[in-house]
Amino acid sequence: MIRIEDVGKRFGEGENLFEALKSITLEVEEGECVILSGISGSGKSTLLSLIAALDRPSSGKIVVEGELVSKLPDLHASAYRAKTIGVIFQHFNLIESLSVEENVIVPLINSGLDMPAIRKMAEQSMQRASILHKASQDVASLSGGEKQRCAIARALVNDPKVILCDEPTANLDRENSLRFIDTIQKLNQAGKTIVIATHDPLFEALPFESRVIHMADGMIGKHGE
Amino acid sequence: MIKQFIGSAAFLMVVTGMAVGHYLSADKISHKKAFSDVVAVTGIVSPSLSTAFYEPAFLGEEIEHPASPQMQSLNRMEFVYAE
């Protein structure tokens, strides 16, 4: 479960001060699929990064799975990212010089597991993201869709409870986008909590139960359902 | 990769071991003995290195010491870094 209470995020100081998020309050139930939609610059990515503890809110608090994410010290924040969260970034953020499998194992390196166990988990994850056939290929030579599937495999490898996706279909053609939605549906059925930031209309009418939340100007406006 | 790494580490270790072995097995004592024999025979300790060729200071200058006409004295440094 994700609980966001009165969260604000400001960038810069003085004249350059910019309020990217203004008093956001939001609750996402366990196993729910939430679509954050809104135009570019409305603060979707910023909100996701706060949930993932990749940045800290300027005010308010965020609680994920009973943990006060907004105040975690580094060591705990890292552990939280490693165990609870799987993120699929807008630009994938893969390490280009490594192969698919090598990218997928990165979150598990410091997990305390030994290499054979890590390899097995990576294989399962790549299977789920249907990228196993490219396991030993270097990321730099993959197509956009394949890169995204690699990113999905990396996000899933630690079996996280919460999956965050930032513009997952921005760099994909229609066929790959539908394929992605298919994957999301399966994950949702498996009980994962999913938050997707997007302005792709495809997500407005998903073939499974979801909640669309509109964002504009760093604020949430209820819409649709 | 890990095999390559262990391979390279082992290679470096072997090479270092060879150098250390060479260092330890060098016969320094008989070397030292030979050098002290030379000194005992000749009484000369100056190394056989470059020596500056000393031109007479002015035309017609006589060279007084027939055995070492152009030698600089021992406690001068120039002869080592000459040329």
Partner: protein, 393 residues
């Protein structure tokens, strides 16, 4: 066991897959370390050998000086020196440089006395199977390797004709060649009976080059020096400790040419380290951000960078020093040795005795490793502490 460690797996993965990133810095470091340590090896080996031979040197050497110039020393002084209290082993010597005029090269000709018991014994152990009687009876000489090579090149096979100051030619047979391991001392040396040497230098019967002697009791030294000046006002005394001091500076790595080498090496090191420092911000910033985003803590990042740097530093240092060791003590330091030997005299194939000053090598390691670690760890830490979202942008 080791191969099951995910950390080591990932570390080696990054090292090998991103080797182009490290290769430039590595190779420059290796060359610099090899150069500096080669110089250190050469100087410590030469210094050690010279120091060893110095122990054998006589305590005092006296020559005659006339208007500041060395002239031949009267043999009569020897008898007067013997009379000084505390003096022992007085030995008149004849030696000097014989210039081979056409090429401006010179040999060091040393005359030795058949009746010098200690010297004869040493000569027997130096040249195995030498027949002393035969050597002293004939007009023959024992030459260093450099002399032999030089004579060979100028078509003198077994004999060489010296030109005496009286204008006569003196044909001398090569009796034996000294082993190459003595080249540092004996490369340009010619050992011959003292009478022959006297003839070649044109010294009179009552003249020698100089006179050496020992004073076993150090406390007597200043006293003896005082008495020596009473022998003749034209006397010049060279003490062993003066010579020692000169040798201390001889191959001192702090001096002259080498200071320049060290400055160049240091500048190069600073340059490549600056490049490495900048690289963390430019190339590795995003990578660190990604690692942080998928759950690596600041400590994990620093650990990765620390071990990565350690492997690079250790391997480049080991490669550099071992290469320098092989170059100096196995190959004999071709080219570089020229700086030490100078080019004025006979070509010298010096064989160096392995001698490593581990203290200096240790400081060299620190001088290299500490800035290297700092140049990687400081920027890595500064990138790691910024929020991952910012680092990945």
């Amino acid at each position: 066991m080791l191969s099951r460690s995910p950390f080591l797996h990932f570390l080696t993965l990054l090292l090998f897959k991103q080797k182009s990133k490290h290769l430039g810095i590595m190779s420059i470091s290796v060359v610099m370390i090899a150069l500096v340590s080669a110089v250190l090896f050469i100087s410590s080996s030469l210094q050690q050998t010279l120091q060893d031979t110095l122990d054998e040197q006589a305590d005092f050497t006296v020559t005659r000086i006339e208007a500041g110039r060395p002239v031949s020393t009267p043999l009569a002084w020897a008898d007067r020196i013997i009379e000084i209290e505390g003096v022992s082993q007085v030995a008149p010597r004849i030696h000097g440089r014989y210039f081979y005029a056409p090429r401006e090269e010179s040999f060091l000709v040393v005359g030795i006395d058949f009746f010098d018991e200690q010297g004869s014994k040493a000569l027997e152990s130096l040249v195995k199977g030498i027949d002393l009687k035969q050597f002293f009876a004939e007009e023959s000489m024992i030459v260093g390797e450099g002399v032999k090579a030089f004579l060979q090149k100028h078509y003198y096979k077994d004999t060489f004709s010296f030109k005496t100051p009286r204008g006569q030619f003196k044909k001398v047979k090569i009796y034996e060649v000294l082993p190459g391991s003595l080249n540092l001392l004996a490369n340009d040396m010619i050992i011959m009976p003292i009478g022959l040497a006297r003839e070649i230098f044109g010294l009179k019967e009552d003249e020698v080059t100089d006179i050496t002697f020992n004073v076993p009791n150090d406390a007597e030294w200043d006293n003896v020096i005082g008495k020596l000046h009473l022998v003749d006002y034209e006397i010049r005394v060279v003490e062993k400790r003066e010579v020692e001091k000169a040798y201390e500076n001889l191959y001192n790595y702090k001096g002259g040419i080498f200071l320049i080498l060290y400055i160049i090496a240091l500048l190069t090191l600073m340059l490549i380290l600056y490049q490495r420092y900048a690289m963390v911000y430019s190339h590795e910033r995003k990578e660190i951000g990604i690692l942080r985003a998928v759950g690596w803590s600041i400590r994990d990042i620093l650990k990765l960078k620390f071990y990565e740097t350690m492997i690079l530093v250790m391997s480049s240092f080991v490669i550099g020093t071992v290469a320098a060791y092989g170059y100096v003590f196995v190959l004999g330091a071709p080219i570089l040795i020229e700086i030490f030997l100078g080019g004025a005299n006979l070509e010298n194939q010096v064989q160096m005795i392995p001698e490593v000053s581990f203290g200096t090598l240790g400081s060299l390691f620190l001088l290299y490793a500490v800035p290297f670690f700092a140049a990687v760890l400081i920027p890595s830490w500064r990138v790691a502490v910024i929020p991952p979202k910012e680092a990945m942008r």
